[in-house]
Amino acid sequence: MADAKVIPFDDDRSRGGAVQRPSRRRSAGSRRKSGESALVREVQPLPGRSFAQDDVPVTREEEPTPAKPQDDDGGGLERRIASGLAFLRRRLTGDYDVDDFGYDEELTDQVLMSLLRPVYENYFRVEVKGVENIPSEGGALIVANHSGTLPLDGLMMQVAVHDHHPAGRHLRLLAADLVFVLPVVNELARKLGHTLACAEDAERLLGQGELVGVMPEGFKGIGKPFGERYKLQRFGRGGFVSTALRKGTPIIPCSIVGAEEIYPMIGNAKTLARLLGFPYFPLTPTFPWLGPLGAIPLPTKWTIQFGEPIPTDGYPPEAAEDPMLMFNLTDQVREQIQHTLYKLLVQRRSVFF
């Protein structure tokens, strides 16, 4: 990463503060902490803070809807219990809706996200930048780098979009077929709104105006050895570009820093992987030597940066069939993610702070 040093520090750092959305955060402690860290590292924190202030009304508007526990005063507690019981009643009687993909919005918002949020806020202390690059409505395809042995980066990206986007958008991730083969995992993935990474599903979701997240590196990215961290792998066959082209939806490159170090994969037990039917079996300094204890990810500090959208609606309909254009666009997206990764790495003070 020596060549990364030449990349200049640049302007989109000022947006970092915008991302800290105090109104959505539940614990004041973490808010203050992240605010401080933003202050320390930001050269000009003021625009960022004012940006956050702008956003407050947007979140306030949508707060009363779900039974999101917000405040801890007496009336709030009563309301929380009441809404909790109403939720329990709906769940027990099966009186809730799922969409065609099995996405259970209520369960995701009220339970699964609350389970992921502590990991997101307190363990990995994710810092989100450029969330305003995600459109508030209409389909968009978020393309991100993939790393970390276990696909925690996808889940964290989902929490990032869910908690920080002013319009409260839900990210629909495209997952590998292995996810849908495994028991329990497939059930949770479907309920979280994930679906199989195939052109049909992606097109259907984009056609419904959903925000779709894809990690085109796939197993090559997530299962790469520690020595190759932050080096983007080949982007599949560029299927995501032709899908976006067909639907005319913008592509939003997303760079995730920090996920590479959660499980430093120093070896790969290929025979064992083949036996179990997995694409790789990671050996890390702690796993499997320490047993389940070794499966605890390292508490790295994460940054998720959403980049400038790349529009695709200016192309003629037959562009999706043009391999050259597809490769060019794929490369453009890949370059942008790689570039941003290097930039974020240069800005990063330490892996853990």
Binding site: L85, R91, L92, D100, G102, L182, T195, L196, D201, R204
Partner: protein
């Protein structure tokens, strides 16, 4: 000049209902009802002809009646009365071949409607979440009714090629439920305790009997202006229910079993001849299946009266309460909510669900 409609499979409740319904249509002159066994229900003013469609006699019946519309409803998963699986398969496959042969010889036949099933898509974790009429199945069903349906559709396609002057309509029905429906899934939902596959929550779609009759009617008449009723169409109610939702709405507790155990138990039950719980049913209850109904709406011009949830509610009403009626559970939760003293102790319950 009125139409002469020949209907096969009238000894089943659904076939009988369709025969009674289509006679009331003004453009229909005469209805010829065919089955190998005399029906227990009345058929209105239809002429019942006892003929086995596996025998060449069906050709004579068709020639003598001069039918111009043939509605083939004798493609079913379960035997009528005490028939074995071999009989069912023969009726499905050989019967269809004989009937199509007869149709090919008949100069009067102008329209053929075939009742198929969405079983033809199979059910696999590597399939897209939503099947359209053109989605190729990833794993072709290896046996049972699903394979029959695939073969029947193959013969029907061959027939359509040889007789391009005949309008052929293949209707792929999702799971049919209703007061009188007697499908494997209906008998599954009648079990006091529902065995499920651990770690999987399949997405299911249902179609109401009334809608089945209605769409068969639309398909057997001249198309309305602006619609087209030849081709292949998925027929399903709107929306999706998860198996867990179904069991909660029915009030029947579930027993999650490991997939190998379920497969083994299924084959044991089949060997003992207690029920025809076929492997494809187990696959459906593992991975689920959802089909797209855009073609049905836009091309066929049919809007189902019942959504999936309404169909299921109707079915649940007809079945009587289960061991854990949803009303009782809701009442219990309401009683907790009505307690004068409420501690914060209920909150963990909320997140546990």
């Amino acid at each position: 000049m009125g139409k002469v409609v020949l209907v096969t499979g009238v000894a089943r409740p659904l076939g009988g209902r369709f025969v009674r319904r289509i006679q009331r249509d003004p453009q229909v002159d005469r209805v010829i009802a065919v089955d190998a066994v005399p029906p227990e229900h009345h058929l209105g003013g239809a002429d019942f002809i006892q003929a086995d469609i596996r025998q060449p006699t069906i050709a004579r019946v068709l020639a003598e009646s001069g039918a111009d519309t043939v509605v083939h409803m004798d493609v079913t998963g379960t035997a009528l009365g005490s028939g074995s699986r071999t009989t069912v398969k023969e009726t499905n496959v050989i019967g269809t071949m004989q009937l199509l042969g007869a149709c090919q010889k008949s100069p009067t036949v102008k329209r053929l409607v075939v009742k198929s099933s969405t079983n033809v898509y199979g059910s696999a974790p590597r399939d897209p979440a939503v099947f359209t009429e053109t989605t190729p199945p990833k794993s072709l069903p290896s046996g049972g009714f699903a394979k029959d349906a695939v073969e029947v559709e193959g013969y029907v396609r061959g027939f359509a090629r040889r007789r391009p002057d005949v309008a052929v309509c293949v209707l792929r029905f999702a799971n049919i439920l209703g007061p009188s429906a007697d499908t494997p899934l209906a008998s599954y939902f009648s079990l006091p305790v529902l065995p499920t596959v651990f770690g999987y929550d399949p997405r299911l779609q249902f179609v109401h009997e009334d809608d089945v009759i209605e769409v068969l009617r639309i398909a057997s008449h001249e198309p309305e202006r602006g619609t087209l009723n030849s081709g292949t169409f998925n027929i399903a109610g709107d929306g999706v229910l998860l198996l867990s939702q179904c069991s909660r709405r029915l009030g029947r507790p579930t027993v999650p079993l490991l997939l190998p155990a379920v497969t083994w138990a299924g084959s044991l039950v089949r060997t003992l001849g207690m029920s025809d719980f076929s492997p494809e049913q187990i696959r459906l209850l593992t991975h689920g299946r959802v089909v797209s109904t855009d073609q049905m709406r836009e091309t066929l011009g049919f809007k189902p009266k019942y959504t999936t949830a309404e169909t299921f509610a109707e079915f649940a009403r007809g079945r009587g309460p289960g061991l854990l009626p949803p009303e009782a559970l809701a009442g219990a939760v309401d009683r907790i909510a009505a307690l004068p003293v409420l501690g914060g102790g209920h909150l963990p319950t909320q997140s546990a669900n």
